[in-house]
Amino acid sequence: MINQNAIDPSSILQFSSALQLSIDSILLDLILKDDVYTFKFDRVEKHDHRLKYFQKMVDGEFKKNTLVVHNKNQDWSLIYNFLILSRLRDEFMKKLASDEPRYNFFLDKIGLEQAQDAATTITSIKEASDVIFAKVKQDKITFRELSQKTGLTQVTLNRFKSGHDTKLSSLLKIAQALDLKISIF
């Protein structure tokens, strides 16, 4: 069990595994002594940016191939969860943080932009169409796939893309298919 305040000696393997699966450098050992945690690496890989993320998350200090962490107010249980769920991949970290804001703390420490739901104000059909089809392009969805997801014909989609009016029900179907939200203020 990884407690909030400390890594229990019986959980060293568990925590080490979670960290190892997230980084490129090879972790040889994790030593817990009093309130100092020493992570020993075979070699700290030069381009292992995820290990650097971890260093920042835990306020660690590198001494050659060893990362020394003073256990001060870290939430190890949360760190562990963050590691196994995100594997310290940027897009996964941001997504996790957007679902659960308490993870934004780590994004701050790492220096990653916090996940925020970016809202776009739309005042015309063409603007709506531009936003929608920018998302389509970003997600690399074909017209055929979008048609299948929404149940709308490709002709309807094309017309909307060209800036023609579309039914609200169609817009809602498209937004849902693209995981977009529509708000009215």
Partner: protein, 241 residues
């Protein structure tokens, strides 16, 4: 890297690679295999799985009809043919597979440590069709990965495939049935389902060269049944009939 190199290169890379931990908890691997190892190579992480005659005895599978490794490879070949997203996998020898390791949590890990699994019905339909046709009997929550960005599941460990049995309702389908009642009746057509439904008998047995007559018949039957499915409810009904 999403595509495996040649077998010769894989063997060479593994020889000098560092072995990494597999599970994040102390419990052993969930599958039935002699050896499961994860290697970090300069190209990618490779997951090696080797089975033994004991594993086959435990699973009551006659290796001469197709070993667990072969069955997993055949399942991958079928998945690749229909365009279903699964990690690239190769058969190193009759008893050993190597696949690209995806750095994603499995569904069990995600739901235990984070929150709800959110599914896309098209993705569930694709996977459920595949699992039905392959007669999957072991689709528990550690046998599919969860991509939280795209809310998609990715099937892994399809070794228990192409037996003569009808399979068991996959874990993800049980969850979907509970939470997405209204979507169960939606007609779904995807590129994957179209490809699967258009596969010929010749193509099928080229991809899945089964030797046992009963297993071949069962596979043909399941494929024919799958061709009539256009909703998730249709698929669920197949298990319950």
């Amino acid at each position: 890297m999403h595509k495996l190199p040649s077998k010769a290169i894989i063997r060479k890379l593994i020889k000098t690679a560092k072995q990494m931990p597999l599970a994040t908890r102390g419990y052993p691997s969930r599958g039935q295999s002699k050896r499961q190892e994860l290697y970090k190579t300069p190209k990618a992480k490779f997951f090696l799985k080797q089975v033994s005659s004991t594993n086959h005895r435990d699973c009551q599978i006659k290796p001469e009809t197709g070993t667990l490794a072969q069955r997993e490879f055949w399942a991958f070949c079928l998945a690749k043919h229909i365009g279903l997203n699964t990690p690239d996998l190769t058969l190193l020898d009759k008893m050993t597979t190597v696949q690209i390791w995806f750095d994603l949590p499995d569904a069990q890990t995600f739901s235990t440590h984070h929150g709800k699994l959110r599914f896309q019905k098209e993705n569930i339909f694709n996977c459920a069709l595949f699992d039905w046709v392959t007669g999957q009997i072991d689709r528990h929550d550690a046998n599919y990965l969860y991509d939280t960005i795209h809310q998609q599941i990715i099937l892994i460990d399809s070794a228990h495939s192409f037996l003569k049995y009808e399979g068991a309702l996959p874990d993800y389908l049980k969850i979907f049935e509970l939470v997405a009642d209204s979507a169960l009746q939606d007609n779904i057509t995807t590129a994957v389902s179209t490809k699967l439904k258009n596969i010929t008998k010749q193509q099928l047995f080229k991809l899945v060269p089964l030797k046992d007559k009963h297993e071949k018949q069962a596979l043909e039957r399941r494929l024919a049944q799958a061709k009539d499915c256009s909703t998730l409810q249709n698929l669920i009904d197949l298990y319950r009939d």
